[in-house]
């Protein structure tokens, strides 16, 4: 069954089972590997993407429910997004594996909260696990990004 949707501003359609998670459509069907697999149960946030601007866990988002909607991935953040600039300025990543998900969550947070407090950051970002312990830099980078235009 063909399912049509937008990825990073481009219309695309895939022919996969409608219960296939968006994560695997992005990674395997479309070859966009920036979005990562971490737990498969929406526990770690590595697979976070935007669906119509909202952060969602793509491992728990069935492609059938994405038909006709807009998906943004780390590749679509553009490379020059203020979150990415802040991440680079502070050298946030270590192994880097969780960081696409971290940045997709952070950019969604900043889109709805111009100046998040520590509590706001805790509440919004606690769904994204980092095993390397980049949390202090993630927090600092979100605050730095909030100050960028």
């Amino acid at each position: 069954m063909k399912i049509a949707f937008q990825v990073n501003g481009k219309r695309t359609s895939v022919d996969v089972a409608p219960d296939t998670p968006l994560l695997w459509v992005l990674r395997d069907t479309l070859g966009m590997t920036g979005t990562k697999f971490g737990c498969g149960k929406a526990l770690c946030g590595a697979c976070t993407v935007h669906l119509n601007g909202m952060a969602v866990r793509s491992c728990q988002t069935q492609i059938g429910s994405v038909a006709g909607q807009k998906v943004t991935t780390i590749e679509g953040l553009g490379g020059n997004h203020r979150v990415q600039r802040a991440w680079m300025a502070l050298d946030v990543p270590q192994c880097g594996y969780c960081q696409p998900g971290q940045m997709m969550s952070a950019s969604a947070l900043l889109a709805m909260n111009k100046n998040p407090s520590d509590q706001d950051i805790d509440a919004f970002m606690s769904g994204n696990i980092c095993r390397c312990g980049t949390y202090p830099r993630i927090r600092a980078a979100i605050k730095a990004a909030a100050k960028m235009s």
Binding site: V16, A17, T20, P21, W24, R27, D28, T29, G31, T33, G34, T35, K36, F37, G38, C39, G40, K41, L43, C44, A46, T73, I74, E75, L77, G79, Q84, W87, M88, D91, V92, P93, Q94, C95, G96, Y97, C98, Q99, P100, M103, I121, D122, A123, M125, S126, G127, N128, I129, C130, R131, C132, G133, T134, Y135, P136, R137, I138, R139
Partner: protein, 736 residues
């Protein structure tokens, strides 16, 4: 050392892998290897040595022969080469090196990444590689120009000579690679460093990691590749008894269902199809020797083993007599659980096994071993196996194991197609090699002033090296079971007697960030705090007063300092006392705790500040750390590694616990295996590095153990409860 692994069969991996690590913990250096100068067959570049490639277009590529798993070898190691090669760090390219003898880590005896050794092993070697290449480039230019090498200079990729002569590295590279390799390679004094110690240096892998283009193992795509999902026995050491794949085989998109040594794989057009089809397999498992294993029996086994005398690994004086002389005797028993590595990228490997060649693309810490074990598993020769190392989505010691590369190779061979085998999180967490559980018993005799007079220590735990590197295990002692206390830093004039009792529980154990420092130093530094309390002394001053200023390297301290560390510890403790405002007035339910350790030639003193609720929920308010890691190559990333170690240690000591029931690991995902999240990270990290021009110490691991007893001791200061069973959950604190 030259013939790394002779035997090629999978079964014999266990036996022969010891030879890989013949140098492990012995600290020997290889003689300078054979000359590797070469030119690219296509004429695109030339290599004065194995670490430097200079393109005719002036591109300088520096080879990194260690695995990048977050710890920054992708930048810190090229910095060492660039310092002497005189090239701009922002213009170089970096590539991961293939397995080759020249890239062996002399501190470990193999091309593997671990033991916080990458920079320590590279410190002279890579600067010499850079300097040697620079000297050859200058020699080539001087020869072209008919001038003395002394009149030429190299800077920013260009050699300049008298009369405004100028030649780029690219134009000189081919000739330079044919020049004689200099024997005497002087290095810059620290005062002239421009690259080493640069506080503004950025990580070279950050842009790709921020754009999502960095290639981890899981991101591998090769032509014709299919996706494999697996079913492995849930029981440790279990096997497939029988299976019915009639549904899976007929699942749309499935290419093959194959049995391999460890389990059954479904190979399909995409991972989700493979995974769904694998779920339809009806498998009967043979539980194997551990089918009835549970925690009760497992701890009973450890307790019984702990009643054995064990083997002495450090002793001086007559400890029994020392105990008789003591005015007070304190005993304590600590228990540590199994914990998992759980890096964010689950285990995976892409394998393309053909009749006469195998390509293995994998996130590994041990690329050198893979050709040998894959050859053993596929019937190929090691030289027919190409290994490509990707970025690693975390390692922490898990990827020293090569099990998942063997599995992928077997699956590719059986399916007759290139496959990317990917484990689910559940596969990963239940098929880890866990940090060993164990029992740690202390008896201390204090003199009339409360000072430690005599100490007995008896640890009981599984040996990791007995499986992975049996040749380093001697007379019942695994050097990687006694770290963190073999270098005991205090004095006990009445005698010391430290013993180790090996005990296999049936659970597979593996090297886990900082390995046995997490066992011995965590319990030791908690126990020293108990002694300070018993003596009525301030925990920091108590430690300082007892430091052994003349301590020397003990025979088992393979990756430790090897020189007296008493003075370094004293300084770190004094500084952490000041920086942490030690002894400040704190509200009820709050407390400070200290710990100090030397590991990997790095000395760390930490003070934890915690708030403990009446229900014994612990919040970590602040960690103050003072670190003496010698010369810092990449200071900002030295800091990152301390931040990282603290996080990893916190997760382990606050929540980490793997349990087994009916032979199977019970925790399978992050809902039931808790790790630190951003809201649980310490509210404040205050990390200081002692300025030093000493040789670099390791940084990837040593902070991990230190934070744990610092937290335990802070919990005691806050509550009067001394948790001796980890993790420090409300239940374990309450029960203490």
């Amino acid at each position: 050392m030259t013939n790394i692994v002779k035997n090629e069969t999978r079964r014999d991996f266990l036996k022969v892998s010891g030879t890989v690590a013949g140098g492990l913990a012995l600290g020997f250096y290889l003689p300078s290897g054979p000359r590797v100068a070469q030119a690219d067959a296509g004429g695109g570049y030339a290599s004065p040595n194995a670490w430097v490639r200079i393109g005719l277009d002036n591109t300088v590529t520096i080879m990194v022969a260690r695995s990048e798993m977050g710890q920054d070898v992708y930048t810190s190691m090229p910095m060492l080469v660039a310092e002497e090669l005189e090239v701009d760090m922002n213009k170089i390219k970096v590539e991961f090196a293939p397995p080759a003898e020249v890239y062996i880590n002399a501190l470990l005896g193999g091309q593997l990444t671990g033991g916080s050794t990458s920079v320590r092993d590279a410190w002279e070697k890579l600067r010499k590689a850079g300097a040697s290449a620079r000297m050859m480039l200058i020699a080539a230019a001087a020869d072209d120009w008919g001038v003395d090498t002394g009149s030429c200079k190299a800077m920013d990729g260009v050699v300049t000579g008298p009369g405004g002569k100028r030649a780029t590295y690219g134009s000189l590279a081919a000739k330079a690679s044919q020049m004689e390799v200099p024997r005497d390679v002087p290095l810059k004094p620290a005062s002239q460093f421009k690259v080493v110690g640069n506080v503004r240096q950025k990580r070279l892998d950050t842009p790709a990691k921020v754009r999502g283009t960095a290639q981890f193992g899981i991101d591998t795509r090769i032509p014709g590749m299919k996706y494999a999902a697996v079913r492995m026995p849930p029981m440790i050491g279990g096997k497939v008894a029988s299976y019915d794949d009639s549904r899976a085989k007929n699942y749309p998109g499935v290419q093959a269902v194959v049995q391999y040594s460890r389990g059954i794989a479904v190979v399909a057009d995409d991972y989700w199809t493979a995974k769904k089809a694998a779920a339809t397999l009806d498998v009967r498992w043979d539980g194997g020797p551990n089918a009835n294993l549970d925690m009760r029996g497992l701890w009973q086994g450890l307790e019984q083993a702990s009643a054995q005398p064990g083997v002495v690994f450090r002793e001086h004086g007559d400890t029994d007599a020392g105990m008789m002389e003591a005015s007070k005797t304190i005993t304590a028993e600590y228990r540590l659980p199994f914990v998992s590595h759980s890096p964010m990228e689950p285990m995976n490997t892409t394998a393309d096994v053909r009749g006469d060649k195998a390509t293995i693309i994998t996130p590994t810490q041990f690329q050198q071993l893979i050709p040998h074990v894959v050859a053993g598993a596929t019937g190929l020769k090691p030289e027919q196996v190409e290994v490509i190392t990707t970025f690693l989505g975390g390692g922490f010691g898990r990827r020293v194991e090569v099990d998942y590369a063997i599995d992928a190779a077997e699956i590719s061979k059986a399916a007759g197609m290139p496959v990317k085998m990917l484990w689910s999180r559940e596969d990963d967490m239940t098929h880890d090699s866990y940090r060993p559980a164990g029992i740690y018993k202390f008896t201390a005799g204090l003199d009339s002033n409360g000072k430690l007079h005599a100490l007995r220590f008896h640890s009981t735990s599984p040996s990791i090296s007995s499986r992975l590197f049996p040749s380093v295990v001697k007379d019942g002692i695994d050097p990687f079971a006694v770290e963190g206390i073999d270098n005991f830093p205090y004095t006990a004039d009445g005698g010391l007697r430290f013993t180790y009792q090996m005990h296999d529980t049936g659970v597979t154990v593996g090297y886990w960030r900082a390995v046995s420092h997490n066992l011995n130093a965590v319990t030791l530094e908690s126990f020293i705090d108990e002694l300070a309390t018993a003596a009525g002394k301030d925990p920091i001053q108590y430690r300082i007063d007892m430091l052994d200023m003349g301590s020397t390297k003990h025979q088992w301290s393979g990756l430790s300092a090897g020189v007296p560390v008493g003075p370094r510890m004293k300084r770190a403790l004094e500084e952490v006392r000041r920086k942490s405002k030690w002894g400040k007035k704190m509200a009820k339910g709050r407390g400070q705790g200290v710990a100090v350790m030397e590991g990997y030639n790095t000395v760390i003193a930490m003070v934890a500040e915690v708030t403990v609720s009446s229900a014994y929920d612990v919040q970590i308010d602040k960690i103050t750390a003072v670190v003496d890691a010698g010369t810092l190559i990449h200071p900002d990333q030295a800091l990152a590694q301390m931040q990282s170690c603290i996080n990893y240690g916190q997760s382990a000591c606050m929540w980490g616990e793997i349990t087994v029931k009916n032979g199977a690991v019970e925790q399978d995902n992050f809902d039931v295996y808790r790790v630190a999240r951003i809201n649980e990270a310490p509210k404040e990290l205050d990390i200081h590095f002692i300025k030093s021009d000493g040789v670099p110490g390791g940084l990837g691991e040593p902070g991990t153990p230190v934070v744990q007893p610092a937290i335990a001791n802070a919990i005691f200061a806050a509550t009067g409860k001394r948790p001796r069973t980890l993790p420090y959950t409300p239940e374990n604190i309450r029960a203490s």
